[in-house]
Amino acid sequence: MNKALPTHNLSIYVANRPGALVRIAQAFSRRGFNIESLVVSPGATGDFSRMTITAKGDEAGLEQIIMQCSKLVDVLACREHSDEEVVARELGLVKVAVDAAQRGEVLQIADHFRAKTVDLTETSIVLEVTGGSEKLDAMVELLRKFKIVELVRTGKVIMARGEGET
C-alpha cells in the first residue's frame, strides 16, 4: 500500500466556460486522485484555457481520469506528458528572514540558482526563482537553514518540445 505513487503531468486544453474547472477537478477527486498542482491560464486564443495539472496516482486510475476528462463537453484535449517530452517550468517566491550577517550566504545561494532578489528589507529578503520543480526544491531545501517566512510556488507549467503538441 505504501508504494510511492508516480507523479503525472497532464495538460488540458479547454473551452473557457463556467464550470469547466470544477468538472475536471471532480474527475480527479471522485477517483481519489490528489492534485498536487494546478495552473490555469489563458490559451493562445481568448476563448480557451490551458490547464496544467500534476497529480499522484496509479496508471489505471490515470487512464480513467484522462478518458473522463477527454469526454467532457468543454475539453478539447487532455494529454499526459512524460518529463522527457516537455519543457517544464515553475516560478517560486521565497521570503526568508535574514539579518545583515546572514544576507551574504542567502545571496550566494540565490546566485547559484539564478534567483533574483525582488524585495529586500533590514530583516527579510524575497527571492524569485524559475526553473524545473527539482531546482526549486533544491533551493528551498538549502534555504531551510534560515527561517523561511513564506513560500509561494506557481506549480509546474509544461510545453511539448519541438513538433509535439501539448
Partner: protein, 584 residues
C-alpha cells in the same frame, strides 16, 4: 412574434419546440413563473404535463425517452423543485438517457446570496449530468437549447441541465431562434477504430470455439438489433443481454441465453465462465454482471465495443477495444466474418439450459414470477413493461420475454426505487396506442404513487401490478441469505389498502389473492380502458434465484438458498443454515 418582442422565457419555450421536444413534465414555482407564463403565451405543439413531485417529472421524461428514443423536457422551479429532480437526473445519467432539464433560478443579482429558494443546482448536479448550463444572458438561449439537445442525444446520450435565472427569463431576447452551436470540445461519434481493429476482432471470432456475445444498452440505443442478430446467426454465437439490453436480441431465439450476472440465468453465467471469447456490444460491464471483476471471463479473449472510451478497462481490461457506435461497428465488421465452429459449445449450453432452467414455485400462495409469466403469455411479450426496483424487478427481467428492444424499461445503473410508475406514465405518453404495464413493489411504489393522479387526469391506461409482499423484499432476501435472518428495517407494516387508494384517485383498483383468479383479474386489468392498479398479495417470503452472492464470481451462481434444507418452507427460520451461511 411580430408586434411582440420575445423575452428569454418565451425564447426558451419556442426553442424547446424548435429542437423537437414533444412533451414537458414539471411543476412551477416562483422562479419558474416566467417559463410557465411563456408556456401559457407561446406554446403550440409541445404537450405539458403537470406532475405531483419533480422526481416523477424526471422519471416520466426518462420513461418517455426509453420508450421512444426521444428526449423530453423537465420544467421545474429553483431550490426544492430543482433538488427534487436530482434522483431522476442521476437515474437517467447512470443509464445514458437523454433528457433536457430546465430549472428556474433566483435572479442573477441574488446568486450566491442564499436568496429564497436559491440552490446551486448547477454545481449540485455536476457529477450526474452529461453537461449543464447556467444562463447569464437571454440572447444565449436559442444556442444553448440547440446545443443541449445535440449533446443529450448524440454519442453516449445523457441528461443536460439548464439553470435559468428568473430575470434571464424576463429579459428581452433579440437573438434569432436559428442559432449556431459552439461546441469546440464535443466530438460525439469519432470512429475510434481502424480496419486492423475490425480484422483483429474477425480473426479472434473465427478462431473461437466457445464465444459469447454480451449485448447491452448501447446496442439498443444505436438500433443495432439487426446487425447483432446477423452477427450471432452468421457465427452461431450465443447471446446474453444485460438488464438494459433486454430484447435487443430476441429472448425467444435459440441462441439466446437471456440475462447474465447477479440474477441472470445459470446458463448465461456458466457460458461466461467457460467461454474462450467474450464480445461486449454496448454493455459497460458493470459490477452487477461481473461477479468478481478480476475473475470475469478470466481466460477468455475479451472484446469491448463501446461508444464511450472511458468504459474500456474501468473494471475489465479488454484485449481488443473498439470505440464506436455499436451499429456502425457491426456493419463494418460483418463483411469480414468467417463462420467458426461452435456446434459443440452450443450443445453444451443446451445441456445447461436443460439442467438449470428458470423456474418458480407454484404452490402455497401467489408468486410474483407466476404473475409475470401469466402477463407474458397474455400480452405475448408485446406490451411495454416498466419496473420498479427490487425482487419483482428481477423476476420481471427473468420471466417477461421480449423479442424487441425499447420494450423493457428499468432503472439499472442507479436502481432507483420509485421509478416504475412515473416511467410507465412517460412511456405511455410516448406510445399512446400500446399496452404499458408497470411491475412495482409495495416499497418503491409508495415512493412516487402520488403520480396516480397524473395517470388519472390524463386517462393514461397504464396497468400497474403491485407485487405486495409487505416487505422491502430484496433487502429482506439479503438479510435472510447473508445476515442470519436478522430482518432489520424491512417490514412494510402499515401498507395502505391499495385498492381503496386507487379508488381515491378515481381509477380502477383490483385485488388478486388466489391463483385461480389470475387469468380473470389479469384479463380484466389489461382490457380496462383506463389506469388500473392491481394489488397482488404475493407470498411474503420468497427469494430470487439464480443469484451470484455479492463478492462472489459467476462460478458461484446459486440456484437456491445456500444452505437450504429439503422441505424447508420458504422463509421459515433455519438457524443452522443461516448461521453457516453467515460464517462463510
Amino acid at each position: 412574434m411580430s408586434e411582440h418582442q420575445m423575452n428569454g422565457a418565451e425564447a426558451l419555450i419556442l426553442s424547446l419546440e424548435k429542437i423537437g421536444i414533444e412533451v414537458a413534465f414539471g411543476i412551477p414555482g416562483g422562479s419558474a413563473i416566467p417559463l410557465y407564463d411563456a408556456m401559457y403565451k407561446v406554446r403550440k405543439k409541445m404537450k405539458f404535463v403537470l406532475v405531483r413531485h419533480e422526481q416523477g417529472a424526471a422519471h416520466m421524461a426518462d420513461g418517455y425517452a426509453r420508450a421512444t428514443g426521444k428526449p423530453a423536457a423537465v420544467l421545474v422551479t429553483s431550490g426544492p423543485g430543482a433538488a427534487n429532480t436530482v434522483t431522476g437526473i442521476m437515474t437517467a445519467y447512470m443509464d445514458s438517457i437523454p433528457m433536457i432539464v430546465v430549472t428556474g433560478q433566483s435572479v442573477r443579482g441574488m446568486l450566491g446570496k442564499d436568496a429564497f429558494q436559491e440552490a446551486d443546482i448547477f454545481n449540485l448536479t455536476l457529477p450526474i449530468v452529461k453537461h449543464s448550463y447556467l444562463l447569464k444572458n437571454a440572447n444565449d438561449i436559442p444556442r444553448v437549447l440547440k446545443e443541449a439537445y445535440h449533446i443529450a442525444t448524440t454519442g453516449r446520450p445523457g441528461p443536460v441541465l439548464i439553470d435559468v435565472p428568473k430575470d434571464v427569463g424576463t429579459d428581452l431576447c433579440t437573438a434569432g431562434l436559428d442559432a449556431e452551436m459552439n461546441l469546440p470540445g464535443y466530438h460525439p461519434e469519432p470512429k475510434g477504430y481502424t480496419p486492423e481493429t475490425l480484422q483483429a476482432i474477425a480473426d479472434a471470432l473465427a478462431k473461437s470455439r466457445r464465444p459469447v456475445i454480451v449485448a447491452g444498452h448501447g446496442a439498443v440505443l444505436s438500433h443495432a438489433e439487426d446487425e447483432l442478430r446477423t452477427l450471432a446467426e452468421t457465427m452461431q454465437i450465443p447471446v446474453t443481454s444485460t438488464l438494459l439490453g433486454k430484447g435487443v436480441f430476441p429472448d425467444s431465439h435459440a441462441l439466446s441465453l437471456e440475462g447474465l450476472g447477479m440474477h441472470g440465468t445459470a446458463y448465461a453465467n456458466r457460458a461466461l465462465v467457460e467461454c474462450d471469447l467474450m464480445i461486449s456490444v454496448g454493455a459497460r460491464l458493470d459490477d452487477r454482471i461481473l461477479g468478481v471483476p478480476a475473475m470475469f471471463c478470466r481466460d477468455a479473449v475479451k472484446i469491448h465495443i463501446d461508444i464511450d472510451a472511458a468504459e474500456f478497462g474501468k473494471l475489465v481490461k479488454p484485449d481488443i477495444r473498439c470505440r464506436g457506435d455499436a451499429k456502425t461497428v457491426l456493419q463494418d465488421l460483418l463483411p469480414l466474418l468467417e463462420p467458426g465452429d461452435t456446434a459443440e459449445w452450443r450443445k453444451a449450453l443446451a445441456g445447461y439450459k436443460k439442467k438449470w432452467p428458470l423456474g418458480y414455485a407454484k404452490k402455497g400462495g401467489l408468486h410474483p414470477p407466476q404473475i409475470i409469466d401469466a402477463l407474458n403469455k397474455l400480452t405475448g411479450g408485446k406490451a411495454v413493461m416498466t419496473t420498479d426496483v427490487g425482487q419483482h424487478q428481477m423476476w420481471a427481467w427473468q420471466f417477461y420475454k421480449c423479442d424487441k428492444p425499447w420494450q423493457f424499461i428499468s432503472s439499472g445503473g442507479a436502481g432507483t426505487m420509485g421509478f416504475g410508475l412515473p416511467s410507465a406514465i412517460g412511456a405511455q405518453f410516448g406510445r399512446p396506442d400500446e399496452t404499458v404495464v408497470a411491475i412495482v413493489g409495495d416499497g418503491g411504489f409508495q415512493m412516487t404513487m402520488s403520480e396516480l393522479a397524473t395517470a388519472a387526469i390524463h386517462k393514461l391506461p397504464v396497468k400497474v401490478f403491485l407485487m405486495n409482499n409487505h416487505y422491502l423484499g430484496m433487502v429482506r432476501q439479503w438479510q435472510d441469505m447473508f445476515y442470519d435472518e436478522r430482518y432489520s428495517g424491512v417490514d412494510l407494516e402499515g401498507n395502505p389498502d391499495f385498492v381503496q387508494l386507487a379508488k381515491a384517485y378515481g381509477i380502477l383498483g383490483l385485488n388478486l389473492k388466489r391463483a385461480a383468479d389470475i387469468p380473470k383479474v389479469l384479463k380484466k386489468a389489461l382490457e380496462h380502458r383506463g389506469p388500473v392498479l392491481v394489488n397482488v398479495e404475493v407470498v411474503k417470503h420468497e427469494e430470487v434465484y439464480p443469484m451470484v452472492p455479492p463478492g462472489k464470481p459467476l462460478e458461484d451462481t446459486v440456484m437456491e438458498h445456500p444452505k437450504k434444507k429439503k422441505g424447508r418452507p420458504a422463509g421459515r427460520r433455519a438457524t443452522t443454515a443461516a448461521t453457516k451461511a453467515n460464517r462463510e
